[in-house]
């Protein structure tokens, strides 16, 4: 039955490919939680623990059992969404992460959209006008972008736009204290405020978001612009473009309908690497701007040696990354015009 739906088959195949990756991620994060030097029970019981509570933690976490048994138990807990207890907040790690995830997603997705919206046209312009100022600008942005430490860019932007010019709000979280946070629907302040029709709050949230999102976007747009430029140059020098030009198609049609559509495919595949960078840089940006997302949660947990929280964060980020890659690949499968023919 599936053979008659090549696109569906490609999609199912891609979803199936994610399974071993998820298994590998779970195995590695299990090993990380058990690789603590010395006795893990001591670490998970916390700094102030005595003999009895350490022993209690050991039994409660099953650390007195052999490793394979511990692993089965770990996976069982994961399937129920149990990532352990956070020592610093006293709540389940999964609850903490879930309540802070929307803040991180709002920041990361805004930055990624911003980066794509700037980088793709920049790359296209640089490829179509080699040697002009656009090309040089693209080259400078690309080289500088990958050399910029995100946390440093963030601090510079704060200095310029908050301290010197005074046009940015103070870099402390998602919303200034004069606003009430909007009712929780999606957890994305911009969407929630818009749903309530509270444009005052919307503007406040957007103001807070501009600097961190710009910091993250500056970092992520470099690889996208570089790849767009290279892919566009390859596409423009290929035979089908020559044919299209020879057939007398307009410059516009050649550029956008044929060259760009084909050049976008390699760009989409590099997005995986860009996500990896963006999610990592997200942690640093959240720390700089005191953004209450899961990145700053992990940094706070690291400072007080709250291991369950840190490992829960690492696992959550990895699963998020696998999911993002899956979504991008599925989009790719959906838009790639060649897949229908390949599968036949």
């Amino acid at each position: 039955m599936l053979t008659s739906y090549p696109r569906l088959r490609a999609i199912l195949l891609r979803v199936a490919q994610a399974v071993p990756v998820v298994v590998g991620v779970v195995v590695i994060s299990f090993l990380l939680t058990r690789a603590l030097p010395g006795d893990p029970a001591v670490y998970f019981a916390g700094v102030a623990a005595d003999e009895a509570s350490i022993e209690e933690t050991r039994v409660a976490m099953g650390l007195d059992k052999p490793l394979p048994v511990q692993f089965v138990r770990y996976v069982g807990d994961l399937l129920q969404g149990d990532l352990g207890q956070s020592l610093s907040s006293g709540r389940p790690v999964a609850t903490d992460l879930a309540s802070r995830l929307p803040a991180s997603l709002e920041l990361t997705l805004t930055a990624l959209i911003l980066a794509v919206v700037i980088a793709v046209p920049l790359g296209v312009l640089a490829a179509t006008r080699p040697g002009t100022w656009v090309d040089h600008l693209c080259r400078v942005v690309v080289t500088a972008g990958v050399s910029l430490p995100t946390f440093f860019t963030g601090i510079l932007l704060i200095y310029i736009f908050y301290y010197l010019l005074g046009i940015a709000p103070s870099p402390l979280g998602r919303l200034d204290f004069i606003y009430l946070s909007p009712d929780h629907v999606t957890g994305f302040y911009l969407i929630d405020a818009a749903l309530m029709g509270d444009w005052e709050t919307w503007r406040g949230a957007a103001k807070q978001l501009v600097l961190p999102a710009a910091t993250l976007a500056l970092f992520t747009l470099a690889p996208i612009a570089r790849m767009t430029r290279a892919a566009m140059l390859t596409a423009l020098s290929s035979d089908f473009i020559r044919t299209a030009r020879a057939a007398g198609l307009s410059r516009r049609a050649v550029l956008y309908r044929y060259a760009l559509r084909n050049a976008l495919l390699p760009v989409v595949t590099t997005l995986g690497m860009v996500f990896s960078f963006a999610l990592g840089a997200n942690v640093l940006v959240e720390k700089v701007f005191a953004w209450p997302g899961i990145g700053s949660y992990a940094v706070e947990a690291l400072v007080v040696s709250d291991y369950a929280a840190v490992q829960g964060f690492v696992l959550a980020m990895a699963l998020l990354f696998v999911l993002l890659n899956l979504v991008v690949d599925l989009l790719y499968t959906a838009i790639d015009p060649r897949i229908g023919f390949d599968a036949k």
Partner: protein, 292 residues
């Protein structure tokens, strides 16, 4: 490339000519080599040349803006920022060079095994590398340092682990395409063992692209290590290190004392920029086709 002809003198001369040609056509690469030399010199001799002790406090001169006496100003407890920035070069370069060296060696060995013998070793290695790459790499490094313990050595190991897949994949590909090449068969017929063939005939061919990778990777490794110490991992406070200096200076940026964070940050950028330029330049020398 290197596996073309082993004819010695003329070939070498043309390589040298090629290098000179590339350097002349692209003066940026020459500048990059100069910047690289500057970094190496400040790592080697910086600690004995700087005007102040990087750890000496001077409460009377705290938070002074840049002046003739203190080029980069002083920090909140009166330490000279310029001295600290220069002294930090050694630690930052050591961390990244050590990490890249470990990933180079381990990645080469794993890549050679997988690429030459293939089979199960190849499948297992690929699964393993896929799993590492399935984590956002900086986040994985955070997890590793949290798990192994908060020390500078563990920063090095964590950075090495997240860089290793790039080397292993590169070497695997380079070894794999040559394992049945004519010169490899000839060496085997002449009685060389597999390991000898691998080490003396095949692996050297992977070195040019590896050097490019090393240079691009060094910049990334520095960024990574500085990022880890920025969030409070690895290097502990009184030590001079760029990431931690930016983190400490960040508290003063909102009150306008910019020099605390800006100078270490600029130096960090300068180092990363140098390695990236160098990598691009080396790529032009090694493989002009890959220019983008």
């Amino acid at each position: 490339m290197t596996d073309a002809t082993p004819s010695d003198l003329p070939a070498q001369q043309s390589t040298l000519e090629h290098v000179i040609h590339v350097l002349r056509a692209n003066p940026v690469t020459l500048i990059a080599f100069g910047m690289f030399a500057f970094l190496i010199l400040s790592a080697l001799f910086g600690p004995s040349l700087v005007p102040y002790d990087p750890l000496a406090t001077d409460a009377a001169n705290a938070l002074q803006p840049p002046s003739l006496a203190h080029w980069f100003g002083t920090d909140q407890i009166g330490r000279d920022v310029f001295s600290r920035v220069i002294v930090a070069t050694r630690l930052d370069l050591t961390i990244s060079v050590a990490a890249v060296a470990i990933s180079f060696v381990v990645g080469s060995i794993l890549g050679c095994i997988a690429g030459y013998w293939g089979g199960w070793a190849d499948i297992i290695l690929n699964r393993f590398l896929d799993t590492i790459m399935a984590f956002p790499l900086f986040v994985l490094a955070m997890g590793i340092v949290a798990a192994l313990g908060n020390t500078v050595e563990n920063i090095i190991y964590a950075t090495a682990i997240i860089n290793m897949p790039f080397y292993a994949r590169l070497v695997r590909a380079e070894v794999n395409i040559r394992r049945d090449a004519g010169f490899v068969r000839a060496a085997k017929l002449a009685g060389s063992s597999d390991i000898r063939v691998l080490a003396t005939q095949i692996f050297p061919n992977a070195l040019p692209p590896m050097m490019v990778q090393v240079s691009l990777n060094l910049g990334w490794a520095i960024l990574n290590a500085a990022g880890l110490s920025f969030i409070g991992l690895g290097v502990s406070p009184p030590t001079a290190e760029w990431g931690i200096m930016v983190a400490e200076g960040a508290n003063f940026i909102v009150s306008g004392e910019w020099w605390l964070a800006v100078f270490p940050g600029l130096w960090l950028m300068f180092a990363v920029f140098t390695f990236n330029l160098l990598g691009d330049g080396l790529r032009d020398i090694v493989d002009p086709r890959k220019r983008t």
